[in-house]
């Protein structure tokens, strides 16, 4: 039996069109995220002096960037019905440690970047293959994360890995006043959004998540879709690790302690259905920005750590519940 390819589109067009046309207006979740962000900004402006300063807006975008890059690049995994990865922190940490270590050996940074991306993609493809073979994606990524953490901890001996005298200051630089990680966030969001909405691979990914049996009957390979989704995700993780490595010039096995939870929260707040089939990378980017705005407002208004976590958790729950109710309403119609 031959694997379907991107050229085999005529036979599956009707089904793909169904996946492309959900039972409710696709703009509703995005409108919800944008609406909530606008409300949060209006409240923040009203109660927070200096909220709308250039420095503060830059800070919000910077804080949204790394989480946003990971959430956006993880969206294909969720869209394909493979839930989320629970090994995010460890993989991004491995990328950060590897990049800093390679640069520290004197390797040209471009080679180090290529090597790190290639390494992460290899690990991601392996996880994708295991998931495609039938293992639970949550357990697979959790186990992979534990292995990666263990290996990096052993190799680094718990110590700090440094880039030495290598010029890594570009990690905190700006282009035309825009921080480099924000630019990369923008580029990654546009690229993954186009990939998911304008290519056969993207539409296949959404269809597999929406209705796997139908997709398989249509000749779409779950294995190929899953592996591609994990590969895209790995590129995002590598970019996040490289950016942070370049910004700090050092890394440890404990880097990125909260990235897993923060990225999943951004993805869910963006309205991507955890079971797959509905959502978009653009919405995940919106989710990351919404969380950063709310977090910033609370920091500037002296909320306690517990209060901040409670409000952030509350926002995730509210958005997910509202979106779920919208979905149910759409299916009833």
């Amino acid at each position: 039996m031959s694997e379907p390819s991107g050229s085999v589109t005529a036979g599956m067009s009707p089904t793909l069109q169904q996946a492309d046309k959900p039972n409710r207006p696709d703009w509703l979740p995005m409108a919800l995220v944008i609406g909530l962000t606008v409300v949060a900004i209006v409240i923040a402006v009203a109660v927070t002096p200096k909220f709308l300063t250039v420095d503060n807006i830059r800070a919000i975008l910077r804080n949204a960037a790394i989480v946003g890059i990971v959430a956006v690049s993880m969206t294909p995994i969720t869209l394909s019905g493979n839930f989320v990865s629970l090994g995010i922190s460890q993989s991004a940490m491995a990328a950060m440690v590897s990049f800093v270590a390679l640069v520290g050996t004197g390797m040209p940074q471009v080679f180090a970047i290529v090597l790190v991306i290639a390494g992460l993609v290899a690990v991601g493809v392996l996880q994708g293959a295991v998931v495609a073979a039938g293992l639970n994606p949550v357990i697979t990524t959790l186990a992979a994360g534990a292995i990666i953490f263990g290996v990096v901890s052993e190799v680094s001996g718990g110590g700090i890995v440094r880039a030495g005298d290598a010029p890594l200051s570009w990690g905190g630089s700006t282009v035309a006043g825009i921080p480099i990680e924000v630019l990369v966030f923008l580029i990654v969001t546009i690229a993954v959004t186009l990939l998911m909405s304008r290519t056969v691979t993207g539409r296949e990914t959404t269809l597999v998540g929406a209705n796997r049996p139908t997709a398989e009957v249509s000749g779409i390979s779950f294995t190929r879709v899953t592996i591609v989704a994990f590969a895209i995700f790995s590129v995002g993780l590598a970019i996040a690790g490289i950016l942070n490595g370049a910004a700090f010039g050092q890394a440890t096995a404990k880097s990125f302690p909260d990235l897993t939870i923060d990225s999943i929260a951004a993805l869910l707040v963006g309205g991507t259905a955890i079971a797959g089939g509905q959502g978009s990378p653009l919405r995940s980017a919106g989710g990351a920005i919404l969380i950063a705005v709310i977090s910033n407002m609370m920091v500037l208004n002296d909320f306690s750590t517990g209060g901040r976590l409670a409000v952030q958790g509350g926002v995730v729950v509210i958005v997910v519940v509202v979106l779920d109710l919208m979905r149910r309403g759409a299916f009833r119609r």
């Binding site: 002096p49 200096k50 800070a59 718990g158 700090f248 306690s304």
Partner: protein
């Protein structure tokens, strides 16, 4: 045996068991020697994937070997449930250690662990001081003196103010405005250090404009710093950051906001955990040299001294800063056995600091 006698025997046995369970190991005969002669010490601490944990374990292992003890180490990944499990499994293994060295990850949640371990052997608590609920099961505390660390911070801040004044810096208030990035809210480490800092600066206080919680890593330091710095931009002269790792994140945030550390603002970090580059290049004015390896070694010594003497004597032993490790004092440990702690200001301070054979780079960043 009559039923009444049997009942009395059962009641006596129950009372004795309860006494042991509730009270833990009571005063015991000492062995008379600090040498372990192959006996086991067991240590429950944080993971060696953390630089502080790795150094602490390294110091404890070397000292145990020197004293002839076999050291068994259980590491948790900053997780109280994981530590609970390790304690249960260790107890179930039937091991009979000479003493237990225990760093509870969450002190309040680890009380049952301390209680169970105290039935096995004397417990020496490490790094985190026991609270009133755990003291009945703990024989002695060994580790950092957080009040002293806070005092050292206060003294370095005063020196930073003098240096800034000498450099011609104009303060935002007569005392100098101080912004604080503290440990996560509720952590005893942060509250004790704060008390020490206030105590050290009571005669020459700073104008504290804001205290922000949650900075304990480069990422969290940057995340919080990048938001708080713009809010207070132009309003602060001095920064106190919980540790040097977090300070590195805050320094990044300062630079991104056009503030030059060491010129526009003077930074002091509570301890050097992380790296010393920023202290050497002047971006951080000074830091506290908190030697995790010495803390591990001192915990083993405290345990060995307790086993040798069968009890404690006095309230506090504060170890002085010495370039080489002093010979172990065979006398009993005190209730609080504090490790040495030294300030390091600038590149010279880093270069000249040596504690128990470890230089500043080995202590802080290896």
């Amino acid at each position: 045996m009559t039923s009444m006698t049997r009942m009395a025997a059962v009641l006596c046995a129950t009372a004795l068991s309860l006494g042991t369970v509730l009270g833990g190991v009571q005063a015991q005969e000492g062995t008379g020697s600090v040498m372990g002669e192959g006996k086991e010490l067991v240590m429950f601490t944080i993971t060696a994937s953390n630089v502080y944990g790795a150094n602490q374990i390294k110091g404890a292992t070397a000292e145990a070997e020197k004293l002839g003890y076999k050291l068994t180490v259980f590491q948790n990944n900053f997780s109280q449930p994981e530590q609970d499990q390790q304690v249960q499994q260790y107890i179930a293994s039937g091991a009979k250690p000479a003493a237990v060295i225990f760093w509870p990850w969450v002190a309040d949640a680890a009380i049952n662990d301390v209680r169970l371990l105290s039935r096995l052997a004397p417990v020496i608590q490490l790094t985190q001081e026991p609270n009133e609920k755990s003291w009945p099961f703990v024989q002695a505390y060994s580790g950092a003196n957080q009040i002293l660390i806070g005092k050292t911070v206060g003294e370095m801040l005063i020196q930073a103010r003098d240096a800034a004044k000498a450099a011609g810096m104009e303060f935002k208030s007569p005392e100098g405005n101080l912004l604080i990035f503290q440990h996560p809210e509720g952590e005893k480490t942060g509250t004790e250090r704060y008390k020490g800092m206030i105590e050290a600066t009571k005669d020459a206080p700073f104008n504290e404009i804001h205290l922000e919680y949650g900075a304990n890593s480069p990422e969290s330091g940057y995340e919080i710093g990048s938001q708080v710095v713009p809010k207070y931009k132009g309003e602060f002269d001095f920064l106190w950051v919980s540790n040097q790792q977090a300070a590195n994140g805050v320094i990044r945030a300062l630079k991104e906001n056009g503030i030059t550390p060491g010129k526009d603002v003077y930074i002091v970090s509570g301890d050097c955990s992380g790296s010393l580059e920023a202290v050497k290049n002047g971006e951080t004015f000074g830091t506290g040299i908190q030697p995790a390896a010495v803390e591990g070694a001192l915990a083993v010594r405290t345990a060995a001294k307790f086993v040798a003497n069968g009890g404690i004597e006095g309230d506090v032993i504060q170890m002085e800063v010495e370039a080489e490790a002093p010979e172990i004092d065979p006398g009993p440990p005190a209730k609080f056995n504090f490790m040495p702690h030294a300030p390091a200001i600038g590149a010279d301070g880093v270069a000249n600091t040596k504690i128990w054979g470890y230089n500043a780079d080995e202590i802080c960043a290896s």
